[in-house]
Amino acid sequence: MGRFRRLDLMTLMGLALVGLSAGIVSGLSVEQKTYTVHELKAHWSTPYDLVVLPKGTKAVLGSLADPNALDEGTGGITVAQWKKIERLPGVSVAAPLAPVGQTYLGLQVGLIKPGVPGLFRITETFQGRGLPSATSPYVLYYMGPTSGFGWRPPVWGSVVAVDASAENRLVGLKGAVTHGVYFGPDTATLVPASKNVPPALVDVPALVTSSPPVFASDTLTVQLLKSHYSTTKASKYAYEADMHPTLPTPLSALTGSMVFHTTFTDNSLWKIWIDEQTGEPTPRSLGALTISNQNDRPWGESFGGPLLKVGSVSYSRVHSPFPGRWPVALKADPVPCKGVDPTGCGSFVFTGEEFRTLTLQHGLSFGFHVVGEYSPSKLHISVDPLTGVPMVNYAPEEGKVVLSPSGKAVNPPQVAVPDMQPAGLFTQPPIMLVPIKDVLPILSKAPLSSIRIKVSGTGHFSTSSQSTLEAMAARIRKATGLQVEIIRGASPQQVLVHPGNENGYTKVGWIQEAWVKTGAAVEILRQTLLSQDVILLPILVGAFVFALTAGIIGVEVRRKDYATLLALGVAPRSVQVSVVGEGLLYGAVVAALTLVAAIAVAGIRAVGVGMPVALLSGLVISAALVPVARATGRMEPLASLRESLPGLSRAVAPSTVVGMGLTLFLSSVRRQIAAISALLIPGAVFYLIFLVQGSLHHTMYLTSLGQYLLVRVGPLVTLGTVVVVALAILTSAQVGLRNATLRAKTWAIGSAVGWPISVPILASLVEAGAVGLAAGLIGATVAALVGDLLLGVAFQPQIWGEAIGVIVVSGLFAALPSAIIIARQEPISHLRGAGT
């Protein structure tokens, strides 16, 4: 610390920063690796390890899987393929799901008796939570004074076939039965077809859920119309309206008075139905209405109903309205029906709100009897919020309406859940489970929509577990040609889904859904370790550049001192030794700081990593001064003693302040190359850091598991960025101060002849901006080429621009104080001495 206090102070600050940051990064990397592995082990569990899906399923996009896809659609996997998978060594459970269909649960609500004769208009409105309401076409009744009408609300539930043994081993279904019995050896009866009578599958045993997961409400409105028509005419018009609901009739315009209005939730209706089935005592009324089972069958007897197959959904990537928050946005479209009987495809219109196609199962009738009730809450299903992926058929899919159709934020987001619409956007968990062996006769040739698989020996998080899973997935793909996704280690990731242009769902806007990001745990571990390596490397590189720049500038400003010593006969070697000695001293201080900081962060266990990093950082600092020492020893004393005002370039006419700044930039080419070299490495480092951040963004920032871990891992990236920014600023500041010092006489002359203070400041900023731009351009471009050619990471124009921007801004930021200091100094202090 002598005449160049500011430079020396900056050098010491930079070295302290390098030592401390290298130590902190080392300590954090030890601590975070331990933490990350521990947490990944803790959250490694998922309900199943692999899921097998039909080949070419539309429900998987890259590493994201649709949580809806398990138990609906039209199947695609054969029983033979399931059996083949089940027999593979290492497969401990292979539990299939086969969608049987949606069935109408016959509930009779009634009897509604208005008590007065007349023409009545009956309207029914459905309201799903978070989804738009729908009103059915009205119905007209002409009733006498004592007559009434019954009402059958469209209560639907999905029936899914499972393998009794596999399902029990996978989720403990048998243990979750709260009433009745589990599936026994009973088998359903297939009644052959006879003339005009379709074949019938009867007495299929069924387990019914105790928690019907529907969340819609119905509103029934009955109006007495003010009609002047005769009974005969009104009946005729009512009949015509029923036959041609879209055509206007004389009755359409009639006004009416309300005689009945009630609203109730479908959940309550369903609960009543389940209690009926299981023999529980139940109030057989709902508000003013009495309820009856349509078939009025007691516990254990067969109950029949039509079956409808729900079409699947295909997803396509679309531009996200907010890519920073939701990088993945999908458009959901119903898959067109390709049924055997085209007339049946989509023919079932559900209150005008059909989203997916519905196919009526022709040619079969279906009867079942409830043997027991199970509680979904007693199933052995992972409930870990970080890895408890919703890709299970027992939990209702849930979303949040976050953006309106016009793209504006819905605040607070509105929860959207399954409603009574069997063809809705969200999957309803099954209301009934039936044994797959009993319903095979009525299912298609490839009836299974998915198979959930547990693999032996993969209970703990490790790279070998992951390898085992990958090997098993590959084996299943090879054996069956089916699509296999590794679910263990997956984590939910929020995506935006926009329902396609089908009917009323376009009114919903954008729904945020938790999709399944496969391979999240392994990817997170990889990214954590990568980020640690990539952050430490730039710090060491930045340290080297900083020390080199500090050394060069230190020698430059002391040039005349060294030249005087050489002129007096001091041996060049002695001068070199003094410079190297200075470097060794710096290196020792940095190494000590590194080790102390590492131990302070992670304790004594950090010595293993901290010691090599400390030695490396000390070595890097010391090594940086070796070329400086060599250059010092080769200095020509006379030339250095005579050196005065630096020569400036004539490439740009310095008639303006900007011209003067560019002239300064283009002058002293060797010095400017040194300055650009000092800054281009931070430019390259920034590109790499931004690449890491981009990489983290893929899984670390987006999945629940990643976000949880990011609280601990994120600061490392931030620290690395801050350190490199600080080193870039310090390096820039050194360059700026050196330039300002060297140009002090120029500014003093200008000041003496009356230049405004703004001239040296603006010209210095132009020069610093030009240096930063050149350094950023070269550094980021080289890093992009290295990333592209060596690491295989495609060129990222945005990151490239950001890296350049950071260097330019840090250059300007660092140059400003020096320029201001020099500009405000008394000119006389720089005018004394030799000059031109």
Binding site: G647, G750, W755, A823, L831
Partner: protein, 222 residues
């Protein structure tokens, strides 16, 4: 008028105070031509720098046309130098990368519109100092005498009221010294009302001025 009243200047370096001026009180009338003489280290250049607002007095008051230079902000001092003062230094202090004409026009950098207005005057002045053939030559390749003549043209280009010369012949041989001294006197005389203050330790140069202020050890002795 220049007025120095009990002006002192002390330089402090590494905790050591070195007095350069000790309570000087002098007045120089507007239009007066004065030589300040004295041995090296007597404080004459320091006094000149204070008159040109290149530095501030440590104590005392220094006024030019009633304006107290000690209380001006850096921007006001810069403006003062631009509008009122023309400097000629012993070391010339040209910008070597600029041409002769650009050096003469250098005071107008950063002052929009001024540069183009003074192009003609700059060329006239360079003609007066005998360098009209050297307008585009880089200043760095000129001889010492030529450099000082360029510096004189630069000092006059903004038509200042006060011309301050610090050992203008100190780095010149005797022939060039004579030329420069003649030139300064001639230019000052042709522009009536301009104040000329020349610092010199050369008795021959000082002898050409009607008034001489002698300094020694930071004090005015005559």
């Amino acid at each position: 008028m220049i007025g120095c009243y009990d002006v002192a200047k002390v330089y402090r370096q590494d905790g050591v105070d070195t007095p350069a001026l000790r309570w000087i009180t002098i007045e120089i009338d507007t239009g007066e031509h004065v030589a300040i003489t004295g041995p090296s280290g007597s404080g004459k250049s320091t006094l000149l720098a204070l008159m040109g607002a290149l530095d501030r007095p440590t104590s005392g008051k220094l006024t030019v046309d009633g304006m107290d230079l000690g209380i001006l902000t850096p921007a006001e001092r810069s403006r003062y130098r631009f509008e009122k003062v023309g400097f000629v230094f012993q070391e010339f202090h040209l910008l070597s990368h600029l041409t002769v004409l650009e050096n003469v026009l250098a005071p107008f950098l950063g002052r929009a519109g001024e540069r183009s207005k003074h192009q003609v005057r700059a060329k006239e002045l360079l003609g007066v100092v005998g360098l009209s053939e050297a307008l585009t030559r880089p200043a760095g390749v000129l001889s010492g005498g030529e450099k000082q003549r360029v510096a004189i043209a630069r000092a006059l280009v903004n038509d200042p009221d006060l011309i301050l010369c610090d050992e203008p012949t100190g780095n010149l041989d005797s022939v060039n010294g004579e030329i420069v001294t003649d030139l300064l006197k001639r230019l000052a005389e042709t522009a009536s009302g301009k104040t000329l203050v020349v610092v010199t330790h050369d008795p021959k140069v000082a002898g050409r001025f009607a008034r001489q202020i002698k300094m020694q050890d930071g004090r005015v002795v005559v």
